[in-house]
C-alpha cells in the first residue's frame, strides 16, 4: 500500500469522500465489521470491490462513468439500499452495509481507485466530512503533496488543537458489554433471636441417630452393577528374559611359583676379554679406581677398625672346673679279666654314635717265635674285639670273634654296625652286629641290673644270664690267596662320597654308603677293597666251592656272604723301592678324606637313624649295588701319605697306570720319600682342623708335614729320651697332640706354647702305650682312651684347658704353619744363595791366586812412586809442624791445622 507516513502526518490534505447510505441491519451479520482504512489514517475510507454488474447498476463503470478526471461517483443511499433488497448478500456493498445504513446524508461517495491504493478497485467514503473534503479538493493531490513538502520546510505555525465533538466509534458498546451490572434484584433477609439465648451454656447430649428422622445421612453400600462382572480372561503381556545373575567369590589364587631355577651365568670368551684388556676406557677406569681401592686396602692393613678390643681381651666364659687344672683325670679303666692269656691292646675305636661304648682289639703278647711255638694253643683261644661300656667296667658288652688276632679295625662311618678289621694273617674280617645293636644301645639303662643281687662276690657274677656276653662270629673274611700275605697294619674305610675303580680313577659314589676299604700290610702292598659283589669274577670251579663251603651258623647275618672267602682286592699297589727286592713296608696310611671321620658324628647319627627307620639297610642289598654309569670326579687328589717300617714317609699316588711294556696295571712311582724317623712310623694322621697338615710319629721323633710342600717337614722335633709309641691329634685344639711313650707317659704337645718339647707329661701306666684315641661326646666332656701293652684300657678325661681352644687358636696355628712354610722356603733360598756364595768364594780364591803373578812392572813402579810421594808429603808436614820450615804465607791458618 502507499506509504503512510507523510499522508498520515499531514495536517491538511485529507482526501476524504464519503458516501453514506442506510444500512440494512441483519442481526447475525452485525458483528462483521467493515474493513476500514483506519490503519492507514483514513478511517472513513472503505475499500470495495465493485463488479461490472454493480458498476452497471450504479453507473460507475470504469473508464466510462468513472474516469481519471472524475474518479468518483455520488450514489444515492436509497439506490444502495434497494440493491441490498434485490441482491442481499450478493451485493457488492454488503461489506459496508452498516456504514451505509448509518450514513446521515443521502449521497455516498464512491471513488474509483485506479492505483489500488487502498487495495481494491473502489472505495467508499463513509463520512460526510470525508465526502466534503474529497469533493472540495480532488484536483490538487499532487500539488498538495508538493505543498506539503514545502510547508514542512517553512516555519511551523502552531495551531492549538480545536476541540471537536466526540465521535462515537462504537467503543461505548464494548464498555457496556464489559461492565458488570446487577442482573437480579438483591434479596434481603432479617434473622432475629432472643437476646438471652446468646451465649448461654450449652449442654450436649447423645442421641441415637436412627431415632430421629433425617438426623443423619448415610451413604449405604450397595452392590454396584459395574463390579459384578467377573473377569475371566485377562490379557497379560509376557516376555521371556534371560536370567542374569551376578555372583562373586574369592578364591585362593594359586599362582605358579618357581620351585627352583637353573641357570648359567653369562660369560665372555677369551677374545672378548682380550679386547677389553686393550680398551682405553678400561685403563682409565682402573687408574682412577685403583687409587681409591688402594687407599681402602691400606686402611685395612694399617689397622682393623672393627676390632672390639674389649671382647678380644676376654677369654671364653663359662669354665668348668679349675682352669689351672691341666692334668688328664682318670675316669675309668677296663681290663679283660676273662681271658687268662696276656694280651695287649692293638687298636681302639670309640663307637661313633653310642655314648660310652668303646671297642678294643686285643692280641696275644707274643713275639713271632713264640707265636709259632705256641701256635697250637693259640688256635683254641678266640681272638676278640671287646666292646666296653662305661656303665660296666667288668664285663664287655660284646665280643667279636675273629679267626686270628686283629691288629687294626674300624667302624664303618655310614653304618656303625659294620666293623672291618685286619688280621695278623693278612685277612680282612667283617662283622655285622645289626642284630645286637639294640643290646649295646641300651647299655646306659643298665641300672636295673645293678639293683639285683650285688652282694655276690665278683667271680660268681660271671654266669649271670643277663650279662652273658655273646661271641659274635665274623660275617666274612677275605680270600687268603688274593689278599695280603702278612699282617695288616692299617685299615681305613673310604669316604662315602667317592669310589674308585680298578684303574684308580675316582668316581661319584651313588650308593651313599661307605663301600670301599683300603688296607696296607707288611707284605709291602696297599690294597683297595670293595665290599660289594664284583660281577667280573670268574666263577670258581665247582669243586673248590664244595671244599670251601662251610656251614654257616644260623646266627651269622648274611650281609657279606658274597664276599666270604672269595673277597679279592680291587687294586693292589706294591710299594717298591725300585729294582731292589726290598720294598717299603707300610705301617700306616693317611688319605685326604680321613679327617672328615672325626667330625662326622652328627651325620652318622642322622644317617643311622634313617637307616633304621627305612625298610632296608643298604648294607643288606650289596649284591646288586655296583653301578656302571658313574660320574667321574675331577680334580680329586689321589695322593696319600704312607708311613713305613723303616721310618720313611712316602707321598704316593694310588692311580694305576698301564705299563707300556708289559701291559699290566702298574702303580705310579711315589712322588716323595722322606726319611725322617728312626723307627717304624706308627702314626700318620691328618689334623682334624687342617686338611693338609699331617703328623707323623715314629722312632724317637715326630714330624709335621704340609701336603704340597715337598722340601721337608714343617716341624721336626729333636729326639726324645724315650721312644714314641702312639700318638694322636687333639680333636678340639688345633695345636695340641698327644704322644704316648714306651714308659707309659703321655706327652702333651702344644705347638703354640712350645715347639721343641712337650708342654706336659703325665704318667698313665707302667708299660708301653700302644694306642691313643681321644673322643668328644659333648662340649664339656672329652675323653681320651689310652691302651697299654698289658691289655688295659684307660679312659681319662681331658680337662678344660686341653679341650677348649683359646680364641684365635685356629688362626694362630694356621699362621704358625704358614710361617714354617715360609721358613722352609727361606731355607731353600738360603741354600741356593749359600751355594752361590760358596761358588763365588771359590772363584775368588782362584782368582786371587792367579792375580799376584799378573802385576806388571809398570804398575809396580807406579806404586812405588805413589808411595814415595806420600812419604814426601808426610815429611813436609811433619817439618812444618815442628817449625823447622817456614810455611808459605799463602797457606791459611786452617790449612795448617
Amino acid at each position: 500500500m502507499a506509504p503512510k507516513s507523510q499522508k498520515q502526518k499531514s495536517a491538511g490534505g485529507h482526501k476524504n469522500t464519503k458516501r453514506s447510505k442506510t444500512k440494512q441491519i441483519l442481526p447475525d451479520r452485525e458483528e462483521v465489521e467493515p474493513v476500514t482504512m483506519e490503519s492507514m489514517g483514513h478511517p472513513e475510507i472503505y475499500p470495495l470491490v465493485l463488479t461490472t454488474q454493480t458498476q452497471e447498476i450504479f453507473n460507475c463503470r470504469i473508464d466510462e462513468d468513472v474516469t481519471d478526471e472524475k474518479p468518483y461517483k455520488l450514489i444515492k443511499k436509497e439506490d444502495i439500499l434497494a440493491d441490498f433488497k434485490n441482491r442481499a448478500a450478493v451485493s457488492d456493498f454488503y461489506p459496508v452495509k452498516k456504514v451505509i445504513q448509518e450514513y446521515p446524508g443521502d449521497d455516498l461517495l464512491v471513488v474509483y481507485d485506479k492505483d489500488f491504493r487502498y487495495g481494491l478497485n473502489f472505495y467508499l467514503i463513509g463520512t460526510e466530512e470525508g465526502k466534503e473534503n474529497y469533493l472540495n479538493r480532488p484536483e490538487v493531490p499532487e500539488e498538495q503533496e508538493e505543498y506539503k513538502e514545502h510547508t514542512s520546510e517553512d516555519l511551523y505555525i502552531y495551531k492549538p488543537p480545536i476541540s471537536k465533538p466526540w465521535v462515537s466509534l462504537g467503543s461505548e458498546k464494548e464498555i457496556d458489554e464489559e461492565s458488570v451490572k446487577e442482573s437480579a434484584k438483591q434479596i434481603t433477609y432479617m434473622i432475629s433471636r432472643k437476646r438471652s439465648e446468646f451465649g448461654a451454656p450449652v449442654k450436649f447430649r447423645d442421641q441415637n441417630a436412627s431415632s430421629v428422622k433425617d438426623a443423619y445421612i448415610e451413604c449405604t453400600a450397595y452392590p454396584d452393577k459395574n463390579f459384578i462382572v467377573k473377569q475371566l480372561e485377562k490379557d497379560v503381556g509376557m516376555q521371556v528374559v534371560p536370567k542374569v545373575k551376578d555372583t562373586s567369590t574369592q578364591t585362593r589364587w594359586t599362582y605358579p611359583k618357581n620351585a627352583s631355577t637353573q641357570y648359567y651365568p653369562r660369560e665372555f670368551s677369551e677374545e672378548e676379554k682380550e679386547i677389553f684388556g686393550q680398551s682405553k676406557p678400561l685403563i682409565d677406569f682402573l687408574n682412577n679406581a685403583s687409587i681409591s681401592v688402594e687407599i681402602a686396602l691400606q686402611q685395612n692393613e694399617i689397622m682393623n677398625t672393627f676390632i672390639d678390643d674389649w671382647k678380644c681381651l676376654a677369654e671364653e666364659e663359662g669354665t668348668f672346673g679349675d682352669k689351672t687344672d691341666t692334668h688328664l683325670k682318670e675316669y675309668q679303666s677296663f681290663t679283660d679279666l676273662h681271658n687268662l692269656t696276656e694280651n695287649m691292646v692293638t687298636s681302639i675305636s670309640w663307637h661313633p654314635t653310642i655314648y660310652g661304648l668303646i671297642a678294643v682289639s686285643v692280641a696275644i703278647r707274643l713275639s713271632l717265635e713264640d707265636r709259632v711255638h705256641f701256635s697250637g694253643k693259640l688256635l683254641l683261644q678266640p681272638s676278640l674285639i671287646l666292646f666296653w661300656s662305661f656303665s660296666d667296667p667288668i664285663h664287655p658288652q660284646l665280643m667279636l670273634e675273629s679267626p686270628d688276632d686283629i691288629f687294626c679295625f674300624k667302624f664303618c662311618p655310614s653304618d656303625p654296625n659294620i666293623i672291618a678289621g685286619g688280621c695278623i694273617n693278612g685277612q680282612i674280617v667283617l662283622w655285622d652286629i645289626t642284630a645286637h645293636a639294640d643290646r649295646i644301645e641300651n647299655i646306659k639303662t643298665g641300672g636295673s641290673r645293678s639293683k639285683k643281687a650285688t652282694l655276690k662276690p665278683m667271680f660268681l657274677l660271671e654266669p649271670d644270664s643277663n650279662k652273658e656276653a655273646t661271641y659274635i662270629r665274623h660275617c666274612a673274611v677275605s680270600s687268603i690267596e688274593n689278599g695280603h700275605k702278612k699282617v695288616i697294619t692299617d685299615i681305613h674305610w673310604l669316604s662315602d662320597t667317592f669310589e674308585i675303580n680298578r684303574m684308580g680313577s675316582v668316581f661319584e659314589n651313588r650308593s651313599g654308603i661307605c663301600c670301599q676299604l683300603v688296607t696296607c700290610s707288611a707284605d709291602c702292598t696297599i690294597c683297595f677293597w670293595d665290599i660289594r659283589s664284583q660281577k667280573a669274577l670268574t666263577p670258581p670251579p665247582i669243586e673248590k666251592k664244595k671244599e670251601e663251603s662251610i656251614e654257616i651258623p644260623f646266627d651269622v647275618p648274611s650281609t657279606f656272604l658274597h664276599l666270604d672267602l672269595s673277597w679279592k682286592p680291587l687294586i693292589k699297589i706294591r710299594l717298591s723301592k725300585g729294582e731292589t727286592s726290598l720294598d717299603h713296608c707300610p705301617t700306616k696310611i693317611s688319605l685326604s678324606e680321613d679327617h672328615l671321620l672325626y667330625k662326622a658324628q652328627d651325620k652318622i647319627l642322622a644317617q643311622s637313624k634313617v637307616v633304621k627307620a627305612g625298610e632296608m639297610n643298604p648294607y643288606h642289598d650289596l649284591e646288586g649295588a655296583l653301578a656302571n654309569n658313574l660320574k667321574p670326579i675331577e680334580d680329586f687328589c689321589t695322593k696319600f701319605f704312607v708311613g713305613t717300617e723303616e721310618g720313611g714317609v712316602i707321598y704316593t699316588d694310588w692311580k694305576m697306570e698301564r705299563d707300556p711294556e708289559t701291559g699290566r696295571l702298574m702303580a705310579k712311582k711315589p712322588v716323595n720319600l722322606y726319611a725322617v724317623h728312626d723307627g717304624a712310623v706308627h702314626t700318620v694322621q691328618r689334623s682334624p682342623f687342617y686338611k693338609d697338615i699331617i703328623l707323623t710319629i715314629g722312632g724317637w721323633n715326630l714330624a709335621i708335614w704340609k701336603e704340597g710342600i715337598t722340601t721337608g717337614p714343617l716341624l721336626q722335633s729333636c729326639c726324645a729320651p724315650k721312644r714314641y709309641t702312639a700318638g694322636h691329634w687333639s680333636l678340639t685344639r688345633p695345636g695340641v697332640f698327644y704322644i704316648g711313650r714306651e714308659d707309659g707317659y703321655i706327652d702333651i704337645w702344644d705347638l703354640l706354647e712350645k715347639t721343641h718339647e712337650p708342654a706336659q707329661s703325665q704318667n698313665i701306666c707302667i708299660t708301653m702305650i700302644t694306642y691313643i684315641k681321644p673322643w668328644t661326646f659333648t662340649a664339656k666332656q672329652q675323653f681320651i682312651a689310652i691302651a697299654d701293652y698289658y691289655g688295659t684300657l684307660h679312659i681319662l678325661e681331658i680337662p678344660w684347658t686341653l679341650s677348649h681352644p683359646s680364641t684365635n687358636e685356629a688362626s694362630s696355628m694356621s699362621y704358625y704353619f704358614e710361617r714354617e712354610v715360609k721358613h722352609l722356603e727361606y731355607v731353600e733360598q738360603r741354600k741356593k744363595i749359600r751355594e752361590q756364595e760358596k761358588k763365588e768364594m771359590e772363584l775368588e780364591l782362584e782368582k786371587k791366586k792367579t792375580k799376584t803373578y799378573q802385576k806388571s812392572k809398570e804398575q809396580m813402579e807406579a806404586e812405588l812412586k805413589a808411595d814415595y810421594d806420600n812419604y814426601l808429603e808426610l815429611e813436609k808436614n811433619t817439618l812444618i809442624n815442628l817449625g823447622l820450615i817456614k810455611m808459605p804465607e799463602t797457606m791459611s791458618f786452617m790449612d795448617l791445622m
Binding site: 677389553f276 678400561l282 682402573l286 681401592v293 681402602a296 686396602l297 682393623n304 672393627f306
Partner: protein, 97 residues
C-alpha cells in the same frame, strides 16, 4: 696397553691380605679375575646388583650425589667395590692380622 691393565691389577693383588680381584663390566659379566670361575661369577652377579641398588639409593636421596665407593665388612673379610659408569672393580681383602 694390556700390560698396563695387568700391572695395575697385579699391584692391587699384591697388597697384604687381598684374596681376590676382579673387573666386571656394567652388566655384571666378569672381564678379569684372579679367582676361579664359579666364585667370580657369583661375586660378580651379586655385587653388581648390590652396587646398582646402593647407587640408586644415593641418587634418590640427592640427585646431585653419586656413589663413589662401596665397602662391605663381614666377619671373615672385606669386599670393596669401586663403581664406574661402565665397569666395576671388586677387591676382596682379609683385613685381620
Amino acid at each position: 696397553m694390556q700390560a698396563e691393565v695387568e700391572e695395575t691389577l697385579k699391584r692391587i693383588q699384591s697388597h697384604k691380605g687381598v684374596m681376590g680381584t676382579m673387573v666386571v663390566n656394567a652388566e655384571g659379566i666378569p672381564i678379569r679375575t684372579t679367582l676361579d670361575n664359579s666364585t667370580t661369577v657369583q661375586y660378580a652377579g651379586l655385587l653388581h646388583q648390590l652396587t646398582m641398588k646402593a647407587k640408586s639409593t644415593v641418587r634418590d636421596i640427592d640427585p646431585q650425589n653419586d656413589l663413589t665407593f662401596l665397602r662391605i665388612r663381614s666377619k671373615k673379610h672385606e669386599i670393596m667395590v669401586a663403581p664406574d659408569k661402565e665397569y666395576l672393580l671388586i677387591v676382596i681383602q682379609n683385613p685381620c692380622e
